[in-house]
């Protein structure tokens, strides 16, 4: 009944559903298309600030690399988690489900990375990060930072953390909806799959960087 109730829900509740469970409304090919555009756009924009998604749950800024590395990392994050969750779903779900829904919703769940890469473009964040890393590594600091740069950097980092939390919440909802699983079994399987995908993507990211 929740679905019909949801369809007639007040606007506030619908907004909440769109933010934290858009898969109630969008899945399959549509989610895949929107999600892939977001994943690829995040990779390209991320390359402008050297922001890597070198793992399903990782965001790191600084290391210069060719564009293909950024695209490879983003696509690999999506594919690895999608594949692992598809297998996990097949093991625990009693329902029949489509691979298109699993991969489509997981692609859409990565949409918050778009906000992350935009935050990483902030000049104050870039400057302060360069300054901080140079100082931490004991190198010559040749970056002039503004008075507001530490504040901008903190805001950007908090925003990125928030996007990461939002993305994980979306990934879980995507898994629950596309595989029709819920409760402790769904949470346990999701965490196990997330850790497995994180390990795989970390290793593949490292391998990609060795090629460059």
């Amino acid at each position: 009944m929740a679905d019909v109730v949801e369809a007639a829900a007040p606007e506030g509740r619908k907004l909440g559903t769109w933010l934290f469970n858009p898969f109630h409304y969008v899945a399959g090919g549509q989610a895949l298309l929107i999600g892939l555009v977001a994943v690829l756009a995040a990779a390209v924009i991320g390359s402008l600030s050297n922001t890597h998604f070198d793992g399903v749950l990782d965001v790191h800024t600084g290391l210069e690399a060719p564009l293909w590395v950024f695209v490879f990392e983003s696509v690999m994050d999506w594919l690895a988690l999608g594949a692992v969750l598809f297998v996990g779903g097949a093991l625990v779900s009693k329902s029949r489900f489509r691979a298109l829904d699993v991969f489509g919703t997981q692609a859409l769940a990565r949409a918050p990375t778009l906000v992350t890469v935009v935050l990483a473009l902030l000049p104050g964040y870039q400057r302060y990060l360069q300054y901080f890393v140079a100082k931490y590594m004991g190198q010559t600091v040749d970056v002039e930072i503004g008075a507001l740069d530490p504040f901008v950097c903190c805001v950007a980092l908090m925003g990125m953390l928030l996007m990461l939390v939002w993305m994980v919440a979306l990934m879980y909802r995507a898994f629950a909806v596309s595989c029709n699983v819920r409760g402790g079994k769904a949470i346990g399987t999701f965490i196990a799959c997330l850790l497995a995908a994180e390990a795989v993507t970390k290793a593949l990211s490292w391998a990609a960087l060795q090629v460059t």
């Binding site: 898969f23 489509r98 829904d101 029709n180």
Partner: protein
């Protein structure tokens, strides 16, 4: 007058309810007896509407997803939940018949 729906479950003990009196709205003739409700009639009004929509959509979950404005897996999950409820109802009804 507000829409009234026939209860399928006894509000007192939770057992399945049967119909004992039917009335003709035109001439007032009444028929009394023990009439069992079908499994479909025991479903909630929302579930009955869902089943009707499924029939009208020629059994296409994709068409139902478009009709309700929700995604395919959401409809699929709702269908799975409905199938589970129907199976439980069938088990309850067949259990009561054996008794």
């Amino acid at each position: 007058m507000a829409d009234r729906t026939m209860p399928a479950i006894c509000p007192s003990c939770g057992s399945a309810i049967s119909v004992v009196r039917l009335n003709c709205g035109a001439c007032g003739t009444a028929v009394e007896g023990g009439f069992d409700l079908s499994v479909l009639a025991r479903l909630s009004p929302e579930d009955q509407a869902f089943v009707l929509e499924f029939v009208k959509s020629s059994g296409s979950l994709k068409a139902m997803a478009r009709h309700y404005g929700i995604s395919y897996p959401t409809v699929r999950n709702r269908m799975d939940a409905l199938i589970e409820r129907v199976r439980r109802l069938e088990a309850t009804v067949s259990g009561e018949e054996r008794e």
